[in-house]
Amino acid sequence: MSAKNKENIEGIIVKINGTDAFKAFLLAHNITIGTPFKMNYSPSFSQLINLTVLGKMISIRKEQFNKIEWEAIS
């Protein structure tokens, strides 16, 4: 699911692809399997995705976010 234009959508992380180092990096920012998050506004030109995780707004690169599989919470 593309991150662009998904503002206010809430999701839950179901799988993270990539190396253990990448997963550990995300974990230090509270992002791991089972983490709920909310999409914030991200401008169309930006290579960054802006999320709310555990009450904090975190920006990560789009290519990193694309390695995260998630499902929308209805």
């Binding site: 791991t32 290579q47 920006s59």
Partner: protein, 662 residues
Amino acid sequence: MGGNQLKDVIFVGKPNSGKSSLFNQLTGLNQKVGNYAGVTVEKKTGNYKGLNLIDLPGLHSLDTNTPEELISKKKILSMESENSAIVYVANGTQLIDSLLLFSQIADLQIPMVLVINFKDELAKNKIEINLNSFKERLGCPILLMNSKSGDGIEYLKAVLEGQTFNSPNTFCRSQYDTFDGSSYQNNYKEQITENTDLKFWEEDYKARLRVISSVVKDSVNTDNAIDPLNRARSWDKILLHPIFGLLIFLFVLFVVFQAVFSLSSYPMDWIDAGMANLSNLAKNNISVPWLSDLISDAIIPGIGGVIIFIPQIAILFFLLGLLEHSGYLSRISFLSDSFLKRFGLSGHSIIPLMSSWACSIPAIMSTRIIADPKERLTVIFASPLMTCSARLPVYTILIAVIFPSGAGGIWGVQGLALLSLYLLGIVATLVVSYIVNKNLKVESNPFWAMELPVFRMPNWNNIFINVYQKTKSFVVQAGKIILGISIVLWLLASFSPHNENFKEEKFQVFQKISQKENSNFEMSKEAVDLEYSYLGYMGKIIEPAIRPLGYDWKIGIALLSSFAAREVFVGTLASIYSIGSEDENTIVERLRNEKNPETGKPRYDFATAVSLLLFYVFALQCMSTLAIVKKETGSTRLMLIQFLFMLVLAYVFAFAGYHLLK
């Protein structure tokens, strides 16, 4: 914890928790700022009633690999509970997140006090914390505070003075109990020190999250709460907008640049004039000639060369502080990230790069906001290519020599030439960044994340303390090097292999030639002294090397002396050509009339002037910048590589420019 055995109190918290504000509230200007051994991570220590307070770099988790966070982790793991304690600062509006790290440290059984910060925002967002229930569960002193205003600090002072820290109740420590057949051992500390297995940390995180969620649910009432991020989300729709966001961003950068550039010009002029007066005072009142010259021509100008940068450094760090503390700096990083990423940089680099337009020194100091060591070194290496304010006097004089005022009509060729030089500086910075980033053998953080903090009123106390520390650090560290080089340059320019009689004879000869030719410009005694000084001979020694660029030994002297600072080029030319004034029009006229004795054509023809301009675009002619590079990187080698790299670049472009245009 009772008694008075406590020595160290360590301030720990996640980034943006308000930890440093609290530390500043307690220590004020009574702080020491240095680096941790072998790294350029800032170490802040201060004293409070005999206690050694240490402000550790912000930490996300004990599962960390970034150099800055590893320092915090190592410090925490090496603590001895008998004589040290922790003040843990938690962001009250992000309690679950804050308590994850708290719980990891609590399980180490270190005496602690928990400070729940941003009391004002909790009230504003209708988040109610039941402190009694919280205290009962956590088992250590808990204080509700506002670190910005100092509201509640008296309770923290009471804890510090009474040393009433307590080891908190544990969260997940019992999971690490092992039974060896006769007794229970706990290997939590060993596990979190040595275990790098991802599964281990994931399980630990999930277990903590479960416990903490339950604690927060029982002690925090959010029934009527407003999401603290709502306001930031609304503002971000404007501030990060593809059009409005970029326009606001450009406007803010314009204001910062203008403020650093123009506001600093007044105090810089005052310092300049004050140092000149002081210099004259020394010259007129010290009877020993060599001592008078040393003090008035080397030491006072050397000190002046250090303190003249104070206004720029102070204004830049004040404005950076405003942007950072308000939360807008992260938005600037967000907006510029996509563009800068193409050159191996990120949004974190934008402020140092833009600051370089004013001066490379505060810009290089401000690279500490860049977390990635490779990116930081790249910016330190490339940012001096941005057109700093010291290049302006050189540019304006040389442009005026080749383009008469009013040339080009409404297009203003002089202005276009100046703009082109600025653009060339930007292109050079980005291209060099790309090349350096590709070739630098420094480990880079492969992943990138940034927190977008909520918008807050700036903390003036923090900003002023930071400005004071940065300025002091520059004056003390870089000042020593600048002063030293100033004295060396003075020695080379003041002493000669010849005696006074020889120079006097030469002066008389030049005067006679001047009278015979009925020249309007007389050779001054100072110019003769300079020509026959060691510096003058060095100019002549390097002449064969700079002749291919279209320069003679006189330009060589100006190049050598302007190593101290680029703007010295103008003053040296004034001295060499015996102008006796640094007035721009006088110098321009003199340079235009200067003839090449071999060809009879103008010495400063179009090709030579363009060659000189290109030289100054690329050359790192600024010892203050080199001093700050050495200080910030801790590497003399890198400083020399940077100097030589930019010198080669300057030579190649000046050579090409001269030969293409002559």
